[in-house]
């Protein structure tokens, strides 16, 4: 198989918000290549809608300390508080930087950046909702992605588009490069680099009902996992309350920020019962559970009582048109519902992985509870800093990618300037070549789509908003069976050029492994916290579980793989855990 070699200082894997933000910092300081499975502007950052919070105090009194508190409380106290402080403090500059790059924020009458309310964001430590989210209609993510790409064009960043990174190279404990598969030609490329920044996003495709793109298959986490490096807090997966029923297409929390109301089949504003103070603007995990509970208790809407309603009909049409144009169009296009006049059917949809590759606040990836892998960085959804703890607050992901994308890119470049150039391991592409050839040329009989479908079905059924030991064990045994079947997977397309059949088969491998990590981590967490809700352990247990899960892939001598769980303490600075009430 043909192999091409490239050499750079910094290699960035992934070109969403975090990857491109990192590239902007890094490419002006060190020779930087960005490798991306998709064209940069296809990344799922573009699907984010509601906004990016920062305590600018442009419209209301606010400060970053309140933002930090909300982030910590929203994350059910599993947040590393030093990281949250960094994020909320740097949020202000992150927003201003984006504005200076040209991002077209909505404006106040004075011409400043406008701000609106968002779930879980409050003033005075929970007193009342605060207007903190900076936004551009309901396409803030789109604007961030486009603006960052525009800046990359301006800086002449080197992109390798449709290069699928499949392996991380490590020399003497340090990151030394990556191996990529070029989709267009089927060629293998070995990239030597002094620093590697992973920014590959999440793995929402382990679930069937998800707001995630087809391409969000946890590639970066999977690569790290296969290297024996840990994954942190994988049991915490966020379910966004308002996905279009049946489809999972995201309807921003901004709909509720602008005044939208959730109602059950009796027309009752049921969130008043679950979160009396901030009602529909409670954090996502609480709203999602409340919705699932309404449906479970028979108060769902529709012929099968399978969803609840998001009601915007009382909002002025001008407000809907100006602030929520895209999501109302989704409702019209996909459900044929006119949001001016009718409520929109919604149900929770798998949305965001709080967990991922553990990093410190410099964006450096860890290989145990405190030591870093020199030269390896991660930022964005692939990483777990952990600023989101057990449940991410709305808008904090766009903040995360900007703050920690910038930090990772900057630190990677600085590291690369002084780091020695490492030799690549012997035969660096061997693993990837074997992976591809055995899969493409194998004589398997199992269909990728069938296995993936069953994986998603069992995850939706057993590891979603509500979990029990029984359901998780069921999921685990299903995954076990699917692993066996995956070993016999077939790829129909035997060609080299644009072999997306092969691509999907490889992606499925990552999905299965990550699903297993998720379930194993969830099984061991006998408590309910944030996005992880165990019906058999319905309360938070700070005595035993105020700690991060660290999962490791353990390769036995006989070649069998097991998952070993370890734990890492939570960093607490100012805030002591309290009961989480809204």
């Amino acid at each position: 198989m043909e192999i091409e070699f490239h050499s750079y200082d910094v290699l960035i894997v992934g070109a969403g918000g975090a990857g491109m933000r990192a590239a902007l910092e890094s490419s002006s300081r060190a020779r930087t290549a960005v490798l991306t499975k998709l064209y940069p502007t296809r990344s799922h950052t573009g699907a984010a809608q509601g906004g990016m919070c920062a305590a600018l105090a442009n419209v209301e009194d606010d400060n970053w300390e309140w933002h930090t508190f909300d982030t910590v409380k929203g994350g059910d106290y599993l947040v590393d508080q030093d990281a949250a402080e960094v994020m909320c403090k740097e949020a202000i500059d992150a927003v201003l930087d984006l504005e200076k790059m040209g991002l077209p924020f909505n404006r106040t009458p004075e011409g400043r950046i406008d701000q609106r309310r968002f779930g879980g964001h409050t003033r005075q430590h929970g007193e009342a909702p605060v207007r903190r989210s900076c936004f551009a209609a309901d396409r803030t993510g789109h604007m961030i992605l486009q603006t960052l790409y525009q800046q990359c064009v301006k800086q002449n960043v080197d992109f390798f588009n449709e290069f699928y990174v499949l392996d991380l190279l490590i020399t003497a404990g340090r990151a030394s490069g990556v191996v990529a598969y070029e989709l267009a030609t089927g060629r293998i490329h070995v990239f030597a680099g002094k620093a590697v920044v992973l920014a590959t996003g999440g793995f929402g495709k382990v679930f069937r009902t998800t707001s995630n793109a087809h391409t969000l298959t946890g590639d970066g986490m999977g690569i790290v996992w296969r290297k024996g490096l840990p994954l942190e807090d994988m049991e915490f997966f966020q379910f966004h309350p308002t996905g279009l029923a049946g489809l999972g297409v995201l309807l921003s929390e901004a709909a509720r920020g602008e005044g939208g109301i959730l109602r059950n089949k009796d027309g009752e504003r049921f969130m008043e019962r679950y979160a009396p103070t901030i009602k529909d603007l409670a954090p996502r995990d609480m709203v999602a559970r409340a919705m699932a509970n309404e449906v479970r208790e028979g108060r769902g809407c529709g012929p099968e009582s399978a969803y609840v309603m998001l009601d915007l009909t009382h909002l002025p049409r001008e407000q809907i048109d100006a602030k929520l144009p895209d999501i109302t169009e989704f409702a019209r296009t996909y459900l044929g519902v006119e949001p001016y006049d009718e409520p929109i059917p919604v149900f929770p949809t798998a949305h965001y992985a709080m967990g991922g590759v553990p990093t410190n606040i410099a964006g450096e990836a860890l290989f145990n509870n405190q030591d870093v892998v020199p030269g390896l960085y991660a930022a964005g959804e692939v990483a777990c800093v952990s600023v989101h703890g057990a449940n991410r607050l709305g808008t904090n992901s766009l903040l995360d990618i900007n703050v920690f994308g910038r930090r990772a890119g900057f630190n990677a470049a600085v590291y690369a300037q002084s780091a020695p150039k490492l030799d690549l391991p012997d035969d660096p592409a061997a693993f990837v070549i074997h992976l591809i050839e055995s899969m493409r040329d194998g004589a398997g009989t199992e269909r990728v789509a069938a296995i993936r479908g069953e994986l998603q079905a069992t995850m939706d059924l057993n590891a979603q908003v509500y979990r029990t030991e029984g359901s998780l064990k069921q999921a685990l045994s299903d995954i076990d069976g699917l692993k066996t079947r995956y070993a016999n997977v077939s790829v129909q397309d035997k060609g080299k050029r644009f072999n997306t059949d092969l691509l999907e088969a490889i992606e499925l491998g990552f999905l299965i492994e990550l699903a297993e990590v998720l379930v194993v981590s969830a099984l061991a967490r006998n408590e309910s916290r944030g996005g992880h809700f165990r019906e058999d352990y319905a309360t938070r247990d700070d005595v035993n579980f105020m700690r991060h899960t660290m999962a490791y892939r353990q390769l036995a001598d006989d070649g069998s793989v097991t998952i070993r769980l370890d734990y890492k303490p939570v960093v607490q600075t100012r805030y002591r855990p309290m009961e989480r009430k809204y």
């Binding site: 799922h44 604007m143 301006k154």
Partner: protein, 233 residues
């Protein structure tokens, strides 16, 4: 509901010939064309190749020509494209086809990059944000919606005949900054679009406006750039 799709197939690894292949699938009327393509790929023919990602019309991966019109496969419901008859799906036109529905996007992105699609400012930066009234912000709102899917550019007959033409998307990309009150690179951008292959090649056929899945009034944007060239330089 039984649906028949007639797909344009091309795989130079197998044959230099283009062929048309027909598939039958069972779908809901409210399913997207993308769902039907997935059913084919996942259940019938794994070699069928197309790009897709977000599946709800914001990433711009899956622009294709469906029943002769450029659309996003994920934003087009089967019930809206006359599913009683075979639905034809082919790659967008004017860019080299690489395999099945996948085209080479490089010429398209090259055109985009050549109009300097980024904010240009000079002088010292303010410490806080630049001030811009909501009215000034709204002036260029329409063209900020662009997702670079290439549906407009590849629906343009001038672009089909002459790939040197910048194409509607590049002009949209320039428009977004030309009409941004914060930008100071207007003169340079207008100079670029004043080229032989610039805005003057637009014949106002409105194909681009009709093709845009984001509802951008592309032709209007092009006309506004022409007007700016005449009156603003």
């Amino acid at each position: 509901m039984d649906v028949t799709l007639k797909l344009r197939r091309y795989n130079p690894e197998v044959s230099d010939e283009v062929s048309w292949e027909t598939f039958s699938v069972v779908q809901q009327p409210t399913d997207r064309v993308l769902d039907a393509l997935h059913t084919i790929k996942w259940d019938q023919d794994g070699t069928l190749t197309f790009r897709r990602s977000c599946a709800h019309g914001v990433c711009g991966s899956d622009a294709m020509r469906i029943n002769g019109r450029n659309r996003l496969a994920c934003k087009t419901l089967l019930k809206d494209v006359n599913p009683g008859k075979p639905i034809t799906v082919e790659p967008i036109q004017g860019l080299p086809v690489l395999k099945d529905l996948v085209v080479d996007m490089e010429p398209f992105f090259a055109a985009y990059k050549s109009v300097m699609p980024f904010l240009i400012t000079d002088g010292n930066e303010p410490t806080r944000e630049r001030v811009q009234s909501q009215k000034d912000r709204d002036r260029f709102d329409d063209t900020t919606k662009c997702i670079l899917c290439a549906a407009c550019t590849t629906s343009c007959p001038v672009y089909w005949a002459d790939g040197q033409y910048f194409g509607p998307q590049a002009i949209v990309g320039a428009h977004r900054f030309i009409f941004d009150s914060r930008d100071e690179g207007t003169a340079q951008r207008l100079e670029i679009l004043n080229d032989n292959e610039g805005v003057w090649r637009c014949r106002t056929t409105f194909n681009c406006t009709e093709a845009c899945p984001r509802g951008i009034e592309v032709t209007k944007a092009i006309q506004e750039v022409k007007r700016a060239l005449i009156f603003r330089r």
